[in-house]
């Protein structure tokens, strides 16, 4: 008989090891899944994890890694702060959309003026849009005790309808021959979030993501507010005695994660995507939840996890075109990763022991 024994303290070693074990388990079970789909599992896994980094066309894929990783890291950093304190923002996808709409809207309002201040205004507008969308569940939770999980999620669907509405109406390109979608911001120099070094994939979103990682690290380790966040998550009762103001924490965590998600949306729409269109969002807001957990809610971990997740996106696309692997298979693959991660986390908090029969 096997029993679980709660560790007095979470195991440090296992907390580092579980993400790696989970990735390995996902590779094995993902391989089995690919085999069931009639693909060579080793070839498929190789294509996903090896090809983008060291394959023949890696010079093209490596910059893509930054482009896909930046929004994931940016959103996940924000989410992780709330998750640590037990504040669940599940609606990052909606905040990402609103950031894009606000950011692009602010930029297009100036069209065709060319000025240096347009891009900074868009950045602020994007962050504001995401913040606004996240502060709704925060305010409702603080004021009425409404469940933030359900409200933030409902707002994703509302944001998706907003996106459809503006791409067919308010922000529609007047010179677009009636097609839905806005003007292409890539062709509007003052609003274009261009690569900082040509061909590197490095754009302002990547820079912001790196700043966010450093900021979150400092906040959590060197700042009172960060201490309060950790305290609330790990010992809610102690937090109460320490005088943590839960309402302030909720507003801060949700607001900040919304602003970061909004920034991610804004950098995406003004850079790699360029256009506000109905199918603008591709699920970064949800994948970022996996990234946050895979990175163990730690800023540096999230940076690495964001890179890995970006890899599965790009590798997945390659596998799709070269091996005919369905796009949904990658989604399943990413979902599996979260499963294994949560399951193996058992080993961090519990010790597995053979039961020794004891006379009570």
């Amino acid at each position: 008989m096997i029993v679980l024994e709660k560790r007095p303290q979470p195991s440090k070693a296992w907390s580092y090891a579980t993400p790696l074990v989970a990735v390995l388990a996902t590779m094995v079970f993902g391989g089995i899944l690919f085999a069931i789909l009639g693909k060579n599992p080793i070839e498929a896994i190789g294509t996903i994890f090896w090809e983008p980094l060291f394959g023949e066309f890696a010079f093209y894929y490596r910059p893509q890694l930054l482009v896909k990783g930046a929004p994931l890291v940016l959103i996940a950093i924000g989410l992780s702060l709330g998750f640590r304190a037990g504040i669940w923002n599940i609606g990052a996808e909606g905040q990402y959309i609103m950031g894009a709409i606000f950011g692009a809207g602010a930029g297009l309002a100036f069209y065709p003026l060319e000025a240096w201040y347009i891009f900074p205004v868009m950045v602020i507008a994007g962050a504001f849009g995401g913040w606004l969308w996240a502060i709704i569940p925060a305010f409702l939770k603080v004021r009425f005790g409404t469940n933030e999980i359900l409200v933030s999620l409902m707002l994703v669907y509302v944001a998706e309808q907003m996106l459809a509405s503006v791409s067919l109406g308010l922000l529609k390109n007047p010179e677009g021959f009636g097609f839905p979608g806005s003007r292409n911001l890539q062709q509007y120099d003052s609003a274009h979030n261009a690569e900082l070094i040509a061909g590197s994939g490095m754009h302002w979103g990547v820079v912001t993501a790196l700043i966010a990682v450093i900021f979150a690290y400092v906040l959590l380790n060197r700042h009172m507010l960060g201490f309060h966040i950790r305290l609330t998550g790990e010992a809610p009762r102690a937090a109460k005695f320490a005088g943590v103001n839960p309402a302030r924490l909720i507003l801060f965590c949700l607001g900040l994660s919304g602003a970061l998600a909004g920034l991610a949306g804004m950098f995406e729409v003004s850079g790699p995507s360029g256009v506000v269109s109905i199918d603008f969002n591709v699920g970064y807001g949800f994948t970022a939840i996996i990234v946050a957990f895979l990175g163990r809610l730690h800023p540096v971990g999230i940076l690495l996890a964001g890179g890995l997740m970006a890899l599965t996106y790009i590798g997945g696309e390659i596998a799709q075109s070269q091996l005919g692997l369905p796009a949904a298979a990658i989604q399943v693959f990413q979902g599996m990763l979260l499963f294994f991660l949560l399951a193996f986390d058992l080993l961090t908090n519990y010790r597995i022991r053979a039961a020794h029969s004891e006379v009570a």
Binding site: G145, L150, V151, Y157, F333, L342, A343, L346, Y350
Partner: protein, 306 residues
């Protein structure tokens, strides 16, 4: 715009159809939450139920087999939730999210070859005499069998929770798992049963969408119904009959906005389409003041130290 084209009898009848997937999923989740477990994976279990029910009924030609498969599919997915939260003692919020993310991907993968296929029709029951009563007949007595299964299930859950021993034990586990454990009840076992039941119900609800309400398979077709069902449980204060009432209310809003879209009201389609979600938020705000009826052990992990 022509509001006169909206037929009130048809409206109420289709309201009941629109409400059924919500009701099925909400009743299942209600039982799960009564046992003290918060499973946020309803959306995932619904969509997996939707595709497994669709696939089986297309392959076999029998919608009944499809619904059985949907219940099994939902329950199998909820088994993953059991493994995570009851065996590996993982966080329930995160595990529920994992279930939804995985379910959405998995259903898309399974459903690739079923896009554009038409499922076999279940057909409506026409109970002689009473289904011919004007107005009431078409509204209440000319529906598909699963709709009545949903109502019967509500009654059964209500009666079980209220009058039977197993219902009492279930509630005890949800209110105070330590006390229930001390009394000798198998907390984990009871919770596992509840989660599986919830999974099966969500699966049925999903299949109702793909087989009867729409009937077609498209990726992500549940479009948040699972999440609304979760809100509905809060709305119902964990009481089965209020869940029925809530489901009909939300069903009504959904049907009404679709009818208004079709009637060409001056409100843009997007704003009408977002209305069910906004109303869900409003309802949550109004009702969340009262938390007293929530099961006390909701969302807490149980681990017997000896």
């Amino acid at each position: 715009m022509d509001l006169g084209e909206i037929n009130p009898i048809l409206l109420v009848a289709s309201l009941m159809v629109a409400a059924t997937p919500l009701l099925l999923a909400a009743i299942g989740e209600l039982v799960v939450e009564k046992a003290g477990v918060l499973n946020l994976g309803v959306e995932g279990m619904m969509i997996v139920g939707a595709i497994s029910g669709f696939a089986i009924s297309v392959e076999t030609g029998s919608p009944w087999l499809g619904f059985i498969a949907a219940a099994v599919g939902g329950a199998v997915l909820s088994l993953l939730f059991v493994l995570l939260t009851q065996v590996a003692l993982a966080n329930q919020v995160a595990s529920g999210l994992a279930l939804t993310l995985f379910g959405l991907g998995f259903s898309a993968l399974m459903g690739q070859s079923y896009v554009g296929v038409k499922p076999p029709s279940m057909g409506d029951i026409h109970i002689p005499v009473i289904s011919d009563i004007p107005v009431i007949g078409p509204i209440l007595f000319q529906h598909d069998p699963i709709l009545y299964v949903g109502i019967a299930l509500t009654a059964a859950v209500w009666a079980t929770l209220k009058y039977t021993r197993i219902g009492l034990i279930l509630r005890a586990v949800g209110e105070n798992h330590d006390a229930a454990h001390a009394l000798g009840y198998k907390v984990i076992k009871i919770r596992i049963m509840a989660i599986l039941f919830g999974g099966a119900c969500a699966g049925l609800g999903g299949a109702y969408i793909s087989l009867i309400r729409v009937p077609q398979w498209t990726e992500g077709m549940t479009a948040g119904v699972g999440w609304i069902a979760l809100a509905l449980v809060v709305f119902a204060s964990w009481k089965p009959w209020r869940a029925l009432l809530g489901a009909y209310l939300f069903g009504g809003i959904t049907v009404l906005q679709l009818n208004l879209q079709a009637a060409g009201v001056a409100i843009p389609v997007e704003y009408l389409a977002m209305s069910p979600y906004i109303i869900t938020i409003l309802v949550l705000v109004i009702l969340s003041a009262d938390k007293s009826s929530a099961p006390a052990a909701l969302g807490r992990t149980f681990h017997a130290s000896h």
